[in-house]
C-alpha cells in the first residue's frame, strides 16, 4: 500500500544535526502529520513547514545522526498510521457519532438518521 521509506526519497540529511522528511500534501493531511509529530517533540526539535506549494517538510534536529534516522522512520510510520486513521474516520466517523448519540439520547427513527448521516 505504501512504499517503504528507505526505498523512497522522502528523507534528506540537511547537515550533521538535521534531517528532513518531505511529504506530499496530496497524500498526507496536516492532522496526521501533527498527530504523529506530537510523540517526537521531546526527543528532538520538530519543525513543520510547507515546502513549495505541494509538500510539507518536517525538520528533526538532534545530535546523534543514527538515532535521527531511526526517529525519522518512526515518525513516517506514525504518519502513515494516523493518515490511515483519518481516512477510516472519514468512512465511519458519522456512524461513531451516531452510536454515541443513540447511546445517551436514543434516536427515534434510526433508519432515517442513518440515511441522512452516512451519505
Amino acid at each position: 500500500m505504501f512504499k517503504p521509506m528507505e526505498e523512497s526519497n522522502l528523507v534528506t540529511m540537511i547537515d550533521d544535526e538535521t534531517i528532513l522528511l518531505k511529504l506530499s500534501k496530496e497524500f498526507y493531511e496536516k492532522e496526521a502529520v501533527f498527530a504523529s509529530a506530537h510523540k517526537f517533540n521531546k526527543k528532538c526539535s520538530v519543525e513543520i513547514k510547507p515546502i513549495e506549494e505541494k509538500y510539507v517538510g518536517i525538520y528533526l534536529r538532534l545530535k546523534d545522526k543514527k538515532a535521527l534516522s531511526d526517529i525519522a522512520k518512526d515518525l513516517y510510520d506514525g504518519i502513515i498510521d494516523h493518515q490511515l486513521r483519518r481516512d477510516l474516520e472519514k468512512e465511519f466517523g458519522a456512524i461513531r457519532e451516531l452510536i454515541v448519540r443513540h447511546a445517551f439520547f436514543p434516536v427515534s427513527n434510526l433508519q432515517n438518521e442513518i440515511q441522512s448521516n452516512t451519505k
Binding site: M1, A35, H38, K39, F40, K42, D81, H82, L84, R85, L88, E91, F92, G93, I95, R96, L98, I99, V100, H102, A103, F104, P106, L110, Q111, I114, T118
Partner: protein, 486 residues
C-alpha cells in the same frame, strides 16, 4: 460478500494489528489480513471464518444491517459507560493526618500521634455527611482514611451514626470502609464495625523483614508483629474474609514478589493488589531511595502474575485485584468504573475526598498536591461552599472536559482505550497540564505494557490461564469453571 467497516481503532505490534471498538470488542489480525480487511479484500469463499468473527464483533457490516448494528453498539457502549450515571458514589474522609507509623513511602506525609490539630472534628464530619447525601448516586460508600483513622475514633462514630440517621430519609445503599494499619484495633471498636458491617482495608508489604523495612512505627517496634496479632483479632471478631490488604511496591520488595505473594497466601488473604509507588508526599521526597523504573515494576508485575496463576493451577484460589478489574473490562461487556482508571476520569465524578478541615478534592492525590503547596484541584470547602458550588465548579468541569479519551492526544487513537483511563492529577504534576503528555508518561507506559502482556496471554489462549482468568472474573473456584465438581 461485500462489506463496510464500522468504527474501530488499531495498535500495531510486531507481526500484526490489535483492533478494538467502542463496545470493547477486540480482534487480532496479522499484517496481511489487516491490509485485506481495510481494503475490503476478504472474500466469503476464502476468509469466511475471519469475516464472521469480525462481523459478530461489530467490526464490519453488510448492506442493510446498519440500523440494527448501530442500535446494538449504542446499547453496549451505554452499558460500558454506565458508571457515569452513578455520579460520585465514593466519598473518602481524612479522619486525621496523625499516624503511629512513619513509612518512607507515605503519600500523605502523616503527622505525629499527638498532632491533634490535624484531626477532623465531629462537626466537620457531619457537615461533610450532609454534603455527601446531596450526591444523586443511589449508592454511597464512605471510606475513612488517614493518617491512621482509628486514632480519631469518636469522629468515625459520629460520622457513621449521622450518615445512618440521614439515610432514613434518603434511603440509599450505604457502605463504610476503614483503611487502617490495624495496629490500634481494640475491643471498643468491635460493636460499630460489626453492627454496620464496615469493611476493613489494610496494608501488607510482604514478609516480616520486608514489611518492617517499609512500614516503620514511630516507636520503632515491629509493625509486622502487631499487624499479625491484630489481623487475628479482626478475623475472630468480624470473620475470616473481613480484611483485605494491598501492597506498595518499592525497591525493598520489587525483586521478591513471589515471597510477598506467599506471605499473603499463608496469612489467608483472598488476593493481592500490586500497587506501584505514587510520586506524592514522602514517596516523592524519598523517590531516589525507594523508586524504580516503570519497566522494572511491570517486570515484577508479570513475574508476580505468572506466579499467582501457577498457585491457582495448584488449587489455591487467589486473585490479583487489578488484573481482575482489567480482565473484566476486556472479556465482559459490563460497566467497571474504577476511580483511578476510567474515561472520563473518575476524579470528582466517581469519587471525592474530604480533608480533615472540610476541604474537598477530586482525588487523594489532589489533596497530597495541596500538601505539597499546590491548590489547583481544591474544589471547595463544606463550610464555605454548597454541594452545587463544589461538584459543579470549575475544577470538576475542567477535569471532565479534559479527560475524555476522544480529546486526549494518543489516547484518542489508542486501541486499548476501552479498557484504560486518565489520571489528570498525575498528568498535571508531571507536565503542568491536565491533558498530559503520553510519550513521556509513566502511567501510560505502565498500562500499555500491562495491556500488551494481558492481550498476549489472551491471544495465546492457553486453556489453563484462561480458566484462571475466568475464575477471577466470576469469583468462582477453578473447579467450577472447569465443571469438575462432580
Amino acid at each position: 460478500m461485500s462489506y463496510k467497516l464500522l468504527p474501530f481503532s488499531f495498535n500495531r505490534y510486531d507481526d500484526g494489528c490489535f483492533i478494538s471498538n467502542m463496545a470493547g470488542n477486540f480482534y487480532f489480525l496479522n499484517k496481511s489480513n489487516f491490509a485485506k480487511f481495510i481494503n475490503r479484500q476478504f472474500s466469503l469463499e476464502n476468509d469466511s471464518a475471519i469475516l464472521h468473527d469480525l462481523e459478530s464483533r461489530h467490526f464490519l457490516y453488510r448492506d442493510g444491517d446498519l440500523a440494527t448494528v448501530v442500535d446494538l453498539l449504542a446499547t453496549k457502549y451505554r452499558t460500558r459507560k454506565h458508571f457515569i450515571a452513578d455520579f460520585t458514589s465514593l466519598h473518602m474522609m481524612v479522619i486525621t493526618l496523625r499516624c503511629n507509623h512513619k513509612c518512607e513511602y507515605c503519600q500523605v506525609s502523616s503527622e505525629e500521634s499527638d498532632a491533634f490539630k490535624y484531626d477532623m472534628a465531629p462537626e466537620t464530619a457531619k457537615r461533610i455527611v450532609e454534603n455527601i447525601f446531596q450526591s444523586p448516586s443511589p449508592c454511597i460508600k464512605i471510606e475513612f482514611q488517614g493518617g491512621e483513622p482509628l486514632l480519631n475514633w469518636d469522629t468515625i462514630v459520629a460520622t457513621v451514626n449521622y450518615a445512618k440517621e440521614l439515610n432514613k430519609s434518603y434511603n440509599k445503599r450505604l457502605d463504610f470502609v476503614i483503611c487502617t494499619n490495624l495496629t490500634l484495633l481494640e475491643a471498643k471498636h468491635f460493636a460499630l464495625i460489626k453492627e454496620n458491617r464496615i469493611a476493613i482495608s489494610t496494608s501488607l508489604d510482604g514478609t516480616r523483614l520486608l514489611h518492617d523495612k517499609q512500614r516503620v512505627m514511630r516507636n520503632c517496634s515491629s509493625s509486622y508483629d502487631l499487624f499479625r496479632k491484630k489481623l487475628d483479632v479482626a478475623r475472630e471478631a468480624f470473620g475470616t474474609g473481613s480484611v483485605d490488604a494491598l501492597m506498595t511496591t518499592t525497591v525493598t520488595n520489587i525483586d521478591q514478589i513471589d515471597a510477598v505473594v506467599d506471605e499473603y497466601i499463608s496469612l489467608g488473604f483472598r488476593g493481592i493488589f500490586f500497587r506501584a509507588l505514587n510520586p506524592y508526599g514522602d514517596a516523592s521526597k524519598n523517590a531516589p531511595k525507594l523508586g524504580y523504573k516503570v519497566d522494572k515494576f511491570v517486570d515484577a508485575y508479570k513475574k508476580g502474575l505468572d506466579y499467582i496463576i501457577k498457585k491457582n493451577l495448584e488449587g489455591r484460589f487467589f486473585l490479583e485485584y487489578y488484573t481482575t478489574l482489567l480482565l473484566r473490562r476486556i472479556l465482559t461487556p459490563f460497566s467497571t468504573g474504577f476511580v483511578d482508571l476510567q474515561f472520563p476520569s473518575g476524579a470528582g465524578i466517581s469519587g471525592a475526598i474530604y480533608d480533615y478541615n472540610g476541604d474537598v478534592f477530586p482525588a487523594d492525590e489532589a489533596r497530597m498536591l495541596k500538601r505539597m503547596g499546590d491548590s489547583k484541584f481544591l474544589m471547595g470547602n463544606v463550610f464555605r461552599n454548597t454541594y452545587r458550588d463544589i461538584f459543579n465548579g470549575s475544577v470538576i468541569r475542567e477535569i471532565a472536559e479534559k479527560t475524555c479519551a476522544e480529546c486526549m492526544p494518543e489516547c484518542s487513537s489508542c486501541a486499548y482505550q476501552p479498557y484504560c483511563g486518565a489520571d489528570p492529577i498525575r498528568n498535571y504534576l508531571e507536565t503542568n497540564d491536565i491533558v498530559g503528555y503520553r510519550p513521556l508518561s509513566d502511567f501510560c507506559k505502565k498500562h500499555m505494557l500491562i495491556f500488551d502482556f494481558l492481550f498476549e496471554k489472551i491471544k495465546n489462549n492457553n486453556p489453563d490461564e484462561m480458566d484462571v482468568f475466568w475464575s477471577w472474573i466470576t469469583g468462582r473456584p477453578l473447579k467450577d469453571i472447569r465443571c469438575e465438581n462432580n
